[in-house]
Point group: C2
Chain length 488, copies 2
């Protein structure tokens, strides 16, 4: 008799029912070869005594194993481990040795994606995390969203949502976004101008795929959102870096380049630029619009956190002005709700959206239709608008709190401009305090932070990082600065 | 006084609270310019009388509008529409005329994705849908999945799931998949061999991106899964079509090609091939494995519905044999659960997974981490395994039911081989009955079905379609065949 009481430890505190723990434990023993096919198991009465549980629990466990074909009942012999485990199981069972291990390396050579800056890495174990500028999922209407999702799933409409849908995404959410973007950004569009994507990143990828060819020239900021840089480079495009100051990209520099040879694309983040958080001034915006019309210059306008603006009036996106159909506008709902709700969108002329939908479909068939329908309901019922209003107020306070702390506690160490919006402060550390060393010391104290290398991708070493303030409350922000003060 | 009782219709049957209907209605009137900024609104008492609702309802509606800055309260004057609507609102308000309409066409030229076969189109309005082979979401553990999702969201772990994760996807789900694939397919792998994707389609896209260059040669079936063909073509690859019979791809044809010049990729669906449902025989599988080793031939093995096998023993995937690291294995959880749960995976040598994770990240940063964690729990608790067992039994019955009906009711019209597994029957219609005409007539009778054109993409006109049986119960399948009988 095997020592079942030792082999099958039971945790009565666990969320998993005891019978299931026993069943899983037995499957493990069979798999590992501890119990062989054909071996008899103790009767339910005996096993109940051995494991000190009710007999019904053992009967339930055996029933489970029986259903899964791991055991069988032989008349007058009792319960035995199946001689003929289901076709697919013996293979594992018989021969870990016979099944060849998957090769560690491919037998063929393939395209490499290229150097990739170290980003956050393993932040899971830290008590506090300074992220790149994530929203605070704790204040978002996630419970409401789940409720809508659930009731849609149980509604008659599920039949429709679960089959084919419109290639550009559910019409309901495209309609709601059309109205939302009209109200908040003055975009004069219809639902056929909107493509839903699995996050803003996918929208950038798809737009770049349609616009670029190997050898294309793309104008980007110095520095720029590094994940956009990488997209353009992997399509074989050449990056031309445009200087940037507190008023955004240097539009005169773009004009000079256009005069010589029209570039194939300008990628711009006019509001709360990533990583530097600067906003393109109204004057430069006008100048740029003129250039766009004069040269018919294709533009990707990445406006991922337009909705989060705290100081002064927000400036309208390029897309809301007259641009002769040259501006592809990209936004995010992930930034509005939570990192784990992946939803973004692209606004473009209809001929572009048609092709972009084909491309998006090739990458992942369709989005999470049911989630998109649930998101549409959040807009329709005003929950999203109410959440935005609430979170803008809260993030405004958090921005001010962090800026005050940085000024008071780290005045000679950190330089920054108070951002007019967004979810992060671009914090440049004095060169006497190299970020990799600070990040390592902070990590030891339970604070995860970037070492700044990703933000310097392809440009100079800024010794700076984005300090996301939106997802941390004031107490947490105080703790963060406290730790920083100790480790510099 | 405006005729508010007419302008603000109230639907007491609606799920939307009445106060919200009134608030939304008023926003609409303000937006349309019917009510001008500065205009006074009736007091709550008066408005309640006008609309025949309780005064508290009006107070709630006004509170809502007040919160959204649409109205303000002026002492001794009452409620008026805000003179200074929030910065972003007046733009819409002032001038639909002034905001330029988004151009219908781009000002620049761009890459076209190319011809795209008409697929399902608008199937939403039909009572019955023959899909391509979708699972039945009605029997899946979607409620369980939602419960796990919800409790994870409210657990302390959410902090971790909501920040950065492993680039290849949460370790929990990769661990569970490792174990599941070992048990069900005899794959000898570790979690570092697994990349999670937003559906199997994304895994094909990413693998092709790494393997192909413009001018590469890809061997595919005649016919083949058309969405894979399109991926390869848009990477500039040349398709070489390999004949196919009831035992799968013609491996001798592949051998002849390899002898002349090694192709850059073989794409194969060995089990229940798409669209024809044939399964590669054990003998051909051995031959192909020899070729793979001999030529170090890169292979994408798309095994999207291996788990659904009804007749005889399933044949192991190529990936579970010795292939010197040349087989990239792709599977789907979407097919296990529901079309709106987008989850797939890639299994490959670690050096390939590393680059594939970079590529996947470039396309959409990360998956739905929380959903992945919830899926991991379904595996861990055995819910997924139980669901698979249940659905295999049910789909088996549905396959038999449909095959019997087709034989009995449409013997001279439809030809097919009973598929050994999967979720669809490959139904070839006699050439006297062209599918486009049948599909049009069926549509008029409330049955949506493919006109077959997508399945003929790049090959001959098969006048055939995949009849998905998994998502329809026996009564529904009978209705489908009933309608088909009427319209042929």
């Amino acid at each position: 008799m095997l020592p079942f009481s030792t082999l099958l430890p039971i945790n009565k505190e666990s969320a998993m029912p005891v019978y299931q723990q026993i069943a899983n434990g037995l499957v493990g023993l069979i798999r590992e070869g501890v119990i062989k096919p054909g071996a008899a198991l103790p009767g339910s009465r005996e096993m109940a005594l051995l494991l000190q549980v009710h007999r019904k629990t053992i009967i339930a466990a055996y029933q489970e194993l029986f259903t899964q074909d791991w055991i069988e009942t032989i008349p007058r012999k009792g319960v035995i481990v199946s001689q003929r485990l289901p076709e697919i199981k013996p293979r594992t069972f018989k021969a870990a040795a016979k099944i060849p291990a998957y090769a560690g390396n491919t037998g063929f050579t393939f395209n490499k994606i290229g150097a990739y800056p170290a980003t956050a890495g393993r932040s899971g174990e830290h008590r506090l995390v300074i992220n790149d500028g994530f929203p605070d999922h704790r204040i978002g209407p996630i419970d409401l969203l789940m409720r809508e999702y659930r009731s849609l799933f149980h509604s008659p409409g599920i039949k429709r949502y679960a089959t084919y849908g419109n290639m550009a995404g559910p019409v309901s959410l495209r309609n709601e976004l059309t109205q939302f973007l009209t109200e908040t950004r003055g975009l004069n569009i219809g639902p056929n101008n909107v493509l839903l994507t699995h996050g803003a990143q996918m929208a950038i990828y798809v737009a770049a795929r349609l616009i670029l060819k190997p050898g294309s020239t793309v104008l980007v900021g110095q520095p720029n959102y590094f994940m956009a840089d990488m997209i353009f480079q992997q399509f074989g495009a050449k990056l031309v870096r445009i200087p940037l100051d507190e008023n955004g990209l240097d539009i005169d520099a773009i004009a000079r380049i256009c005069k010589q040879k029209k570039p194939d694309l300008l990628y711009i983040i006019p509001h709360h630029h990533h990583p530097t958080t600067v906003t393109l001034s109204a004057e430069r915006r006008m100048k740029l619009l003129e250039l766009i019309r004069q040269y018919q210059l294709p533009v990707i306008e990445d406006d991922y956190d337009y909705d989060f603006h705290y100081s002064g009036s927000p400036i309208l996106p390029l897309a809301s002005a007259d641009h002769d159909g040259n501006v592809i506008y990209i936004g995010s709902l992930t930034k509005t709700l939570a990192t784990f709700i992946r939803a973004g969108y692209m606004v473009a002329p209809e001929n572009f959206i048609t092709e972009a939908a084909l491309m998006r479909r090739m990458i992942d068939i369709r989005g999470d239709n049911l989630l998109d329908e649930a998101l549409a309901l959040l807009f329709k019922n005003g929950d999203m608008q109410r959440h935005l209003k609430k979170s803008v107020k809260l993030y405004h306070e958090r921005r001010d709190h962090l800026c005050t702390l940085l000024q008071q506690e780290l005045p000679d160490i950190v330089t920054f401009q108070r951002p007019a919006g967004g979810m992060a402060v671009w914090a440049q550390f004095h060169k006497k305090y190299p970020l990799p060393a600070i990040a390592a010391r902070a990590s030891a104290k339970g604070l995860f932070m970037s070492d700044g290398s990703a933000y310097s991708y392809g440009t100079v070493n800024h010794n700076a990082l984005r300090m996301g303030f939106a997802s941390l409350n004031e107490k947490e922000l105080s703790e963060v600065v406290e730790i920083l003060k100790k480790v510099v």
